[in-house]
C-alpha cells in the first residue's frame, strides 16, 4: 500500500507543474473554493466542496473553437487544434465530481465525437479524493456511489488520521503517475478518517425510471416546477449537465466562434427559429431536466446524469431540491 503526506502531496503539485503540466485543483477564490489551475502546491485547498464542479476541466465554461479575420484578399480562419491542449492533472476532486467524467464520455463520443472534450479527457489524469465532509444536500449514496467511490479516478486518495493519504492506483494512468513520482510516496497504511454521511436513504432508481416512463404528463411537474425561476444555476453547477451553445461573436472584421454552457431551464433553450417554443412553460422545462437525467440518458447510455453532489440543491434560488423530488417519485 502506498501513502503520501500532505506536504508531499503539495510537492507533487509543484513537481507536476515543473514537468510542464497544467494542474487543476480546489483553490480558494475569494469567498468560495473553485477548481482552478494551480500555480503551486501551496494553493491546494482540500477542505471545502468547490462551488462549481470539476467538469470544466473537460468542458470549459467558454472556449474558442474557431477564429476569423477579414484580410485584404480573403477571410482568414484560425482553426483551434485540440492536439495543442495541455496535459492536465486534476487533483483533489471529490468522488461525486469524478464519477461524472465517464458519464460524460458516453455522450461526447456517441454519434458525433467532440474532439475538444475527448482530447481534454484523454490528456487528463484524475486524482480523486475520498470525501470526509458533506452536508444534507449530498446524496451520492442514494445514486449508487459513495464518499469513497473511485469511479472515474486514475489515482485515489483516502485521508488518514494524522494528515496523510492512502493512494490507490485505479488505472494505468494512475500507476504511471505514481511510478513517475515514486519518491514522494511511501509504503505504509493508516486508519482512514470517517467519511461524509450523505443525508438521503437508498432510492430505487429502476422504480424511478419506470415511473418517469409512464408520467410524461403528470400534475407533479406543475406542483414542483411552477416555482422554478428558469435560471441556469442548477445546470451550470452540475458535474453531469453538459448542454452547450455555439455562437459567433465579434464584428465583420474579426471575431470568434465560441462554445459555452447552456441550460434547459432557460426559456429560450428550445425556442425555434419560427418563434414556436415546444417547452413553453417552466414545469415542462424542469420535467425535461429530470427526464434527461433519470430516464432518457439511462435508456440511451445505461447511466444516470446525476452523482448526488447536491450542488443544484444548494444553489437553487427557489429551493427546488432534486433529492426531495426523487424521494417523492420513489414513494409513489
Amino acid at each position: 500500500m502506498k501513502t503520501i503526506t500532505e506536504q508531499n502531496l503539495r510537492a507533487l503539485v509543484d513537481a507536476l507543474i515543473s514537468d510542464g503540466k497544467r494542474v487543476v485543483g480546489p483553490r480558494v477564490a475569494g469567498t468560495m473554493t473553485l477548481y482552478e489551475p494551480l500555480t503551486g502546491g501551496a494553493e491546494l485547498a482540500l477542505g471545502e466542496l468547490p462551488r462549481r464542479s470539476a467538469k470544466e476541466t473537460f468542458l470549459p465554461l467558454c472556449e474558442t473553437i474557431l477564429t476569423y479575420e477579414q484580410g485584404k484578399e480573403a477571410v482568414h480562419l484560425g482553426d483551434v487544434d485540440p492536439v495543442r491542449l495541455p496535459e492536465t492533472v486534476l487533483i483533489g476532486a471529490r468522488p461525486c465530481d469524478v464519477a461524472a467524467a465517464p458519464v460524460l464520455d458516453a455522450v461526447f463520443s456517441w454519434d458525433y465525437r467532440d474532439e475538444f472534450f475527448l482530447e481534454r479527457r484523454r490528456k487528463t489524469t484524475i486524482i480523486g479524493l475520498a470525501c470526509t465532509g458533506g452536508d444534507d444536500a449530498c446524496f451520492c449514496t442514494a445514486m449508487g456511489l459513495s464518499p469513497a467511490d473511485s469511479t472515474g479516478s486514475d489515482l485515489f486518495l483516502t485521508p488518514l488520521k494524522g494528515g496523510s493519504f492512502r493512494c490507490d492506483a485505479i488505472t494505468d494512468k494512475g500507476t504511471a503517475l505514481l511510478a513517475a513520482h515514486a519518491g514522494l510516496f511511501a509504503d505504509g497504511t493508516g486508519e482512514p478518517l470517517p467519511l461524509a454521511e450523505p443525508a438521503l436513504g437508498a432510492l430505487d432508481l429502476e422504480k424511478i425510471r419506470a415511473w418517469l416512463d409512464g408520467h410524461f404528463e403528470d400534475p407533479l411537474w406543475e406542483e414542483i416546477a411552477a416555482r422554478c425561476a428558469g435560471c441556469g444555476a442548477c445546470a451550470f453547477l452540475c458535474p453531469a449537465c453538459h448542454c452547450f451553445d455555439i455562437v459567433d461573436e465579434g464584428g465583420t472584421a474579426k471575431g470568434a466562434r465560441r462554445k459555452s454552457w447552456d441550460a434547459c431551464g432557460f426559456g429560450k433553450f428550445t425556442n425555434h427559429a419560427s418563434g414556436h417554443n415546444p417547452r413553453d412553460v417552466q414545469p415542462q422545462r424542469y420535467r425535461n431536466r429530470i427526464m434527461h437525467k433519470f430516464k432518457y440518458y439511462v435508456d440511451k447510455f445505461d447511466q444516470r446524469l446525476c452523482t448526488g453532489c447536491g450542488r443544484c440543491i444548494r444553489a437553487c434560488p427557489v429551493g427546488i431540491d432534486i433529492a426531495a423530488v426523487l424521494e417523492e417519485i420513489n414513494d409513489k
Binding site: R52, L61, E249, F266, A315, G319
Partner: protein, 309 residues
C-alpha cells in the same frame, strides 16, 4: 434555547406561521383568492421554498421562518404565466418584498384590485450562506435585514404577526457602499471588473428579479447580438451595465439578485448605488406606494437637461 440580545426568538416565527395559516385558509375558503403564494418547509434543516396553495387544507403547509427568503412578487409577473393563470392571487409579503409589488403596480404589470396582500411582520431572514440549523442572529442574518426599516409592512390587506423591539444588528451594506464611494473611479472599475469576471451568466440574478419580466431580454438576442452571451469579460461587463441601468429607478432593493448569485457577486451594492443616484438626481425613491412612472420612464418639463450639450 437561550435568547441573547442579538438572537431572534424563534417563537416570533411560530406565532406568525399560525396566524398566516389561519388567514390563508380563510381567503381560500371564502373565495377571496384562487391561490395563496407563500412559503413551505423544504427537506433540509431550516430550508423553505415558495409554495402555491390552492386548496384550503393546503394552508397547513405554509410557514414563516428565517428560511423564508424569497421575494414572492416574482410569481405575480408575466414571466410566470402558469401561476398568473390560476385566478385572483393572494400573496404573502415581507416589508422589503412589498416595494416590488408597489413597483409592479406602478408599471401597470399588476392591478391592485386583482391581488390580496398578506403582509407579514418580519424580524429578518437568513443570509445566502447562513447555517440554517442556527437561529437568526448576527452571524446568520441577511445583509439587507441589518438595515431594514420596514419590518412591519403597511398598506397591505391584512398583516399577520407582531413584533417586539428587535435587536439592532451591525449595518454592513452602508459601510461597504461608503468604502466603494471613497474609491477613485479607477479603483472602483477594478473592483467591479474583478467581481464581474467571475460571472458565469447563469442569469439567476435576472430570473429572480421581479422587474426582469421582459419577454425578450436584450441579453438573449442573437440576431443581431447586442451583448455577447458567453461568460467572458466583454459580455459580462455589458450584461451588468445593462442590468444596472435597466433597473435604475425600478429596483426595489429586495437583494434577491445578490442572494442567488452562485458566484457571490455583490450586486445589491450596485443596486443601492443606482438608487442613491436616482434620489440625488430626481428626488425619487422606489417606495411603498405605487408610482405613476419611474423617473427614467417619464418626461417632465422641469427635468434636468444640463447633460445635453
Amino acid at each position: 434555547m437561550t435568547t441573547t440580545a442579538h438572537t431572534i426568538d424563534p417563537a416570533l416565527y411560530a406565532a406568525a406561521t399560525a396566524a398566516l395559516r389561519q388567514e390563508a385558509r380563510t381567503v381560500l375558503e371564502n373565495g377571496t383568492a384562487a391561490a395563496v403564494i407563500g412559503w413551505q418547509a423544504g427537506r433540509r434543516a431550516g430550508s423553505a421554498l415558495p409554495a402555491i396553495v390552492t386548496d384550503p387544507a393546503g394552508a397547513e403547509q405554509l410557514i414563516f421562518a428565517p428560511g423564508c427568503v424569497n421575494n414572492l412578487a416574482l410569481y405575480l409577473t408575466k414571466a410566470k404565466k402558469e401561476v398568473r393563470g390560476k385566478g385572483r392571487l393572494a400573496i404573502v409579503v415581507k416589508g422589503c418584498d412589498l416595494r416590488a409589488l408597489a413597483g409592479l403596480i406602478g408599471e401597470n404589470q399588476l392591478n391592485r384590485a386583482d391581488i390580496y396582500i398578506i403582509g407579514i411582520a418580519c424580524p429578518g431572514v437568513y443570509g445566502a450562506h447562513a447555517d440554517r440549523r442556527l437561529p437568526l442572529a448576527e452571524e446568520t442574518v441577511a445583509p439587507k435585514c441589518r438595515e431594514c426599516t420596514v419590518h412591519t409592512p403597511t398598506g397591505v390587506d391584512v398583516t399577520v404577526g407582531t413584533l417586539p423591539d428587535l435587536p439592532a444588528f451591525t449595518p454592513r451594506e452602508a459601510a461597504e457602499l461608503a468604502r466603494l464611494e471613497a474609491m477613485t473611479p479607477a479603483e472602483r472599475w477594478r473592483f467591479w471588473k474583478e467581481h464581474f469576471s467571475r460571472c458565469i451568466r447563469c442569469y439567476a440574478c435576472r430570473q429572480v428579479c421581479p422587474f426582469c419580466y421582459c419577454e425578450q431580454c436584450l441579453c438573449d438576442r442573437n440576431r443581431p447580438q447586442a451583448v455577447e452571451t458567453t461568460p467572458r469579460p466583454a459580455g459580462n461587463m455589458a450584461w451588468h451595465i445593462v442590468r444596472a441601468m435597466h433597473l435604475a429607478g425600478r429596483c426595489a432593493g429586495c437583494a434577491e439578485c445578490e442572494r442567488v448569485c452562485p458566484m457571490d457577486i455583490p450586486l445589491n451594492l450596485l443596486n443601492r448605488k443606482m438608487a442613491k443616484e436616482l434620489k440625488a438626481l430626481y428626488g425619487f425613491e422606489a417606495g411603498l406606494e405605487p408610482q405613476e412612472k419611474g423617473p427614467l420612464t417619464s418626461y417632465r418639463e422641469d427635468d434636468d437637461q444640463s447633460f445635453i450639450k
